[in-house]
C-alpha cells in the first residue's frame, strides 16, 4: 500500500488544517486562556483515554491504575525541566520512558492475574506510587512540586495528541496489535493459536504507560505544580469512565468521550455543591442505558456475552 494514497493525504491535510486554524484562533486571542486551559485538559484526557483503551479496551486487561503512570511521567518531566533545567523534549521523552519502565516493572508480575484481581492489583500499585510520592522529600512530598516551567503550548499539545492517536491506531492494525485484540477477545483461544499472551499483555501495558507518561509531562508543564493526591484512585476512575463512555475498543469513541465528558464537567462547575452528585447520576444513566458506550462495537465479545456479571469467576 502506498503511504501517500488519497485517504492518508486527506486525513493528514485535515490534521494540519485543524492545527493551523486553532493555532490562528489562539494567536489572535479569539480562544482566551480559560478556553485554552480546557483544551489542554481535553488533549491530556484524549491521550490518557486512548492509551488506557489499548490496555483495557483492546487487550482486555482491566487496569485501575492508569493515573499512576501519568503521575510518574508528570514527576519525571517536572524534575527534568524544573530541577535539571532540561528542554521540554527531554522532559517528554524522559517522562514517557520512565512511565514505560514502570509499566514493565508493574506489568510483568501483575499481568498474570485476571479480571477483578488484576484491577485490584493495579489499584494497589497506584496507591503505593501515590504514597511513595507523598513521602519523598526530593519531589516536595505532600506539599507538591512547584515552579515547573510552562512549556506546554498548542503545538506541543496538538502534536502529542495526534502522535498518540496515530501510533496507537496503527499499532492496533499491525500484527502485534491483532495479537493484543485476540487476547482481549479470548485469552485461552489466543494462547491456543500460539500467541505469546504474557509478552503481548506486557507490551500493551508498557505502550499504554508510555503514552500516559507523555500526558503527565504535558500536564506538569502546563499547570506549574504537581501534587501526588491529584493522581489518586479517582483520576484512574475518571480515565476509565472516558474509555467506557466512549466505547471499549474504539479510538474514535475515546476521543469523543474525552471531549464530551470534559465539556459536561465544565458545565457542572456552575453548580459546585451538586457537581459530583449530578456527575454520578449521569454516570449511572450512561451505564444503565448505554453500557457499550457511544461508539461501542456490539461485535466485540465483551459486549455480546450477556450475563457476564454472573458468569463463573475467571471471566472479564
Amino acid at each position: 500500500m502506498k503511504l501517500f494514497n488519497k485517504k492518508n493525504t486527506l486525513s493528514m491535510l485535515a490534521v494540519l488544517g485543524v492545527y493551523a486554524i486553532a493555532g490562528l484562533l489562539i494567536n489572535t486571542g479569539f480562544i482566551d486562556s480559560y478556553i485554552f486551559l480546557n483544551i489542554v485538559l481535553i488533549g491530556i484526557n484524549i491521550i490518557l483515554a486512548v492509551s488506557l483503551n489499548l490496555i483495557t479496551g483492546f487487550t482486555g486487561q482491566f487496569s485501575l491504575g492508569h493515573a499512576a503512570f501519568m503521575s510518574i511521567g508528570a514527576y519525571a518531566a517536572g524534575i527534568l525541566t524544573a530541577k535539571l533545567d532540561q528542554p521540554f523534549w527531554v522532559g517528554i521523552a524522559g517522562a514517557a520512558l520512565f512511565a514505560a519502565f514502570a509499566g514493565i516493572v508493574i506489568g510483568i508480575p501483575t499481568l498474570r492475574l485476571k479480571g477483578d484481581y488484576l484491577a485490584i492489583a493495579t489499584l494497589g500499585f497506584a496507591e503505593i506510587v501515590k504514597i511513595i510520592g507523598l513521602n519523598t522529600e526530593y519531589i516536595g512530598g505532600a506539599t507538591g512540586l512547584n515552579d515547573i516551567p510552562r512549556y506546554t503550548t498548542w503545538t506541543w499539545l496538538y502534536f502529542c495528541v495526534a502522535a498518540t492517536v496515530l501510533l496507537i491506531s496503527n499499532f492496533i492494525k499491525s500484527y502485534k496489535g491483532r495479537a493484543c485484540i485476540a487476547i482481549g477477545e479470548d485469552e485461552i483461544a489466543a494462547e491456543a493459536m500460539g500467541v505469546n499472551t504474557t509478552y503481548y499483555k506486557v507490551l500493551a501495558f508498557t505502550l499504554g504507560a508510555f503514552f500516559a507518561g507523555i500526558a503527565g509531562a504535558l500536564y506538569a508543564n502546563y499547570f506549574y505544580f504537581l501534587k501526588p493526591d491529584s493522581f489518586g484512585f479517582m483520576k484512574s476512575i475518571d480515565i476509565l469512565v472516558i474509555v467506557v463512555f466512549g466505547g471499549m475498543g474504539s479510538i474514535k469513541g475515546s476521543i469523543i468521550g474525552a471531549i464530551l465528558l470534559s465539556v459536561i464537567s465544565l458545565f457542572l462547575q456552575g453548580i459546585p455543591e451538586l457537581r459530583m452528585v449530578v456527575y454520578s447520576l449521569i454516570l449511572f444513566l450512561i451505564m444503565v442505558y448505554r453500557p457499550q458506550g457511544i461508539m461501542g462495537k456490539s461485535s466485540l465479545k465483551f459486549f455480546r456475552k450477556r450475563g457476564v456479571l454472573y458468569a463463573n469467576h475467571q471471566g472479564k
Binding site: F62, E273, S280, V288, V308, K316
Partner: protein, 294 residues
Amino acid sequence: MEQLTQQFVNGVSLGSIYALIALGYTMVYGIIKLINFAHGDIYMIGAYIGFALTSFLHVGFFPALIISMLLCALLGVLIEKVAYKPVRNSTRIAALITAISVSLFLEYGMMYFVKAETRTFPELLPNKQISILNTSAVLDIKNIYIIFVTISLMLVLQYTIYKTKVGKSMRAVSLDRDAAQLMGIDMNKTISYTFAIGSALAGAAGVLVGTYYNSINPLMGVVPGLKAFVAAVIGGIGVIPGAVLGGFFLGMTETMVSAFGGSLYKDAVAFAILILVLLAKPNGLLGRNIKEKV
C-alpha cells in the same frame, strides 16, 4: 512488651472493624461477582445514623447500633434494587462503574446534606480503662465493646449462613447460580438478603468507629472501604472466614507498622501485602482454586 500488648489490643479492635466491612464485600462478591464500591459509604451512612440517633434523639449505644443496622440493611436493599438490578446482565466493567457512581452519589449527596465538616460523636460508653495483667498496657472499655459486638455479629452471621434456609440459598447461589434457580431458589430474594446482611454489618462498623474514634465525616468511608476490600481479597474474596482472617490480619499489620515508626507508609504496606498475596495465591489465603474450563 507492654507496648506490644497495647498495640495488639489496638490491632484487634481495628481488625474487627475491617473484618465487619470486609464481610459485606465478600458476601456480595460471592453472590453477584460485583465489587460493591458503595459498601464503604454504607458504613459512613451507618455512622451518621448512629450520630443522629445518639446526639439528637439521645438513644443509648445498643439501640442506636441496632436501628442503624436496620436502616443500613434497608439502604443496601434499596441500592441493589435501584442501581445494581438494571446492570445485572451488563458487562463487569459497566457494573463496576455503576457501583462507583453509587459510591460518589452517596458521598457527595451526604456532603450536600450534612456539610463537609467533621462531626464529633457523643461519648456513649463509659471511659474506663483496665490495666492488663498489672502492666502499664491498658484495655479501654471501648475495645471490649468493639470486640464483643464484632464477635457476636460474626456468630449470628455464621448461624444464619449455615443453619437457616436463607443462608442455604445464599450458599447455593454463590456456588452455582443456574443450578440454584433450577432448584427453585428465588434469585432476587437471595440477592436482597445478601445486601441486607452485608449492609447491616457495615452499619454496625460505622457506629462502632464513631464511638471509638469520636469523629465522622462524609468521606470517612473511602479509605476504610478500600482497606476492607483489600482485607477481603487477602482472605479470599467470596469466602466468609477469609474476610474475617483478612480483616484481623490487615488491622494487626497496620497497627504494628504504625507502632514501629512506619505510620506514613502503613497504607502502602497494606497494598504491598495485597499484591504479594495475590501473586503467591491469586485466590487469596483461604480461596478455593478454581480450575479454568475452556
